[in-house]
């Protein structure tokens, strides 16, 4: 961990990452041609980045702060959604999985110091950003909509190509940021 990361600096970084997750949701979604134009947003990319760059504790806190601000009523969730209503919707399981996913991303990143940044980020983002998030999202969807686990899992398959792309994007971005600002990738200090 960086010696220069005081409590105040840490707070600011957590808040800026939370703002970044919000900003990625405010940007217009882009569609994947290979998917028949299903629009995907970059918001969960922000979650993966928070975990892989800030580490488990700060990464999870950044996501929790973001969700807290959304719960307070700020329309920062993709599509301009916000308020308590989003936590009553069918995708609440994914939102619960976000901070845990970021935490696992950070843990994996720390555990894989020996690997190259690209490989470590790729594996971390896959485990935290897909496996963990789906492990919460699918039971959540099943619980909220009376679908069986299998049916819910089938339903979320539609997000898998977009999320896979975001896992690769995470690895590319972490490596790019590490080149420009080596001090910013706290998991590699």
């Amino acid at each position: 961990m960086s010696k220069t990361m005081t409590a105040d600096r840490s707070l600011v970084h957590i808040a800026i990452y939370a703002a970044m997750i919000g900003a990625l949701g405010l940007l217009p979604p882009f569609s994947l041609p290979m998917l028949g134009g299903v629009p995907i947003t970059a918001q969960t990319l922000g979650v993966m980045l928070a975990g892989t760059m800030l580490g488990p504790g700060r990464g999870a806190l950044a996501v929790l702060l973001f969700l807290f601000v959304v719960a307070l009523g700020m329309p920062l969730l993709a599509g301009g959604r916000g308020g308590l209503g989003v936590f009553a919707g069918p995708s609440v399981g994914f939102l619960v999985g976000w901070p845990i996913g970021a935490f696992v991303c950070g843990l994996m990143m720390r555990a894989m110091r020996a690997a190259s940044t690209f490989t470590a980020a790729l594996v971390s983002a896959f485990v935290g950003g897909i496996l963990v998030m789906y492990a919460f999202g699918i039971p959540g969807l099943s619980l909220m909509t009376d679908l069986t686990l299998g049916q819910a899992a089938f339903g979320v398959l539609i997000y898998l190509p977009g999320d896979t792309l975001k896992v690769f994007a995470t690895a590319v971005i972490v490596r790019a940021v590490e080149r420009g600002r080596p001090d910013a990738v706290l998991t590699r200090q």
Partner: protein, 212 residues
């Protein structure tokens, strides 16, 4: 940036935030196990009645929930394809009620009041060293920088389009992340120059919604 809060003086606006949050939690728990269509329709009627009692602007705010409703309709079709219209309708009605009830609390509760109402829930975090001041600063930073970073992202996108004629997509996130990190450094320096977060003692600034 403004939240989903609707300016107004209705009975629901005047109700203390904690009462709204507690009743929302109670109603959600009561509604969740209900499988009777008649009961759920009744609950929906009551919910819509609440919106109607708030006036036209609250009914207009319902359109903001369109993405959720679209998702719910897709799920209904999914249920239908699996051959159970009844269970699909139960799911749909229940979730519509839950989402509408939760949203009406957000529509009628100011950000400050919501934070105050949540203060008891945050007490454990305070024991772990998260002071009210630090949390307020963190929230303020998110509100300040989320729209700014989104603006920076749009600018990066326009510049990319001007150069290449195509949308930038995920390519823009790395430069955006670098900008965000630079911003974080500036803010951290500014705070350090003022003696840090905690020595800024005195009355904490009210966390009012900032017009952007």
């Amino acid at each position: 940036m403004t939240g989903v809060y609707l300016e107004g003086r209705s009975w629901l606006h005047r109700l203390p935030a904690w009462i709204k949050l507690v009743s929302l939690a109670a109603m959600s728990m009561l509604l969740f196990p209900v499988t009777d269509l008649g009961l759920l329709l009744g609950a929906l009627a009551v919910t819509l009645g609440i919106y109607a009692s708030l006036g036209r602007s609250a009914l207009a705010a319902l359109t903001a929930l369109r993405p959720v409703f679209l998702l719910l309709v897709c799920l209904l079709l999914f249920h239908l394809a699996l051959g159970s219209l009844a269970s699909g309708l139960v799911m749909l009605l229940r979730l519509v009620c839950l989402v509408l009830l939760a949203s009406v609390v957000s529509l009628t509760t100011r950000l400050d009041d919501m934070i105050d109402a949540l203060a008891p829930v945050l007490r454990p975090a305070e024991l772990l060293g998260l002071s009210r001041r630090r949390l307020a600063l963190a929230i303020a930073l998110v509100l300040r920088f989320a729209p700014q970073l989104a603006g920076a992202g749009r600018q990066l996108g326009e510049a990319y389009r001007a150069r290449t004629g195509r949308g930038g997509g995920l390519r823009l996130v790395a430069p955006l992340a670098l900008q965000a990190l630079n911003t974080a450094d500036h803010v951290a320096e500014a705070i350090a120059a003022r003696g840090g977060v905690d020595p800024l003692a005195g009355d904490p600034a009210p966390l009012t919604r900032r017009p952007e």
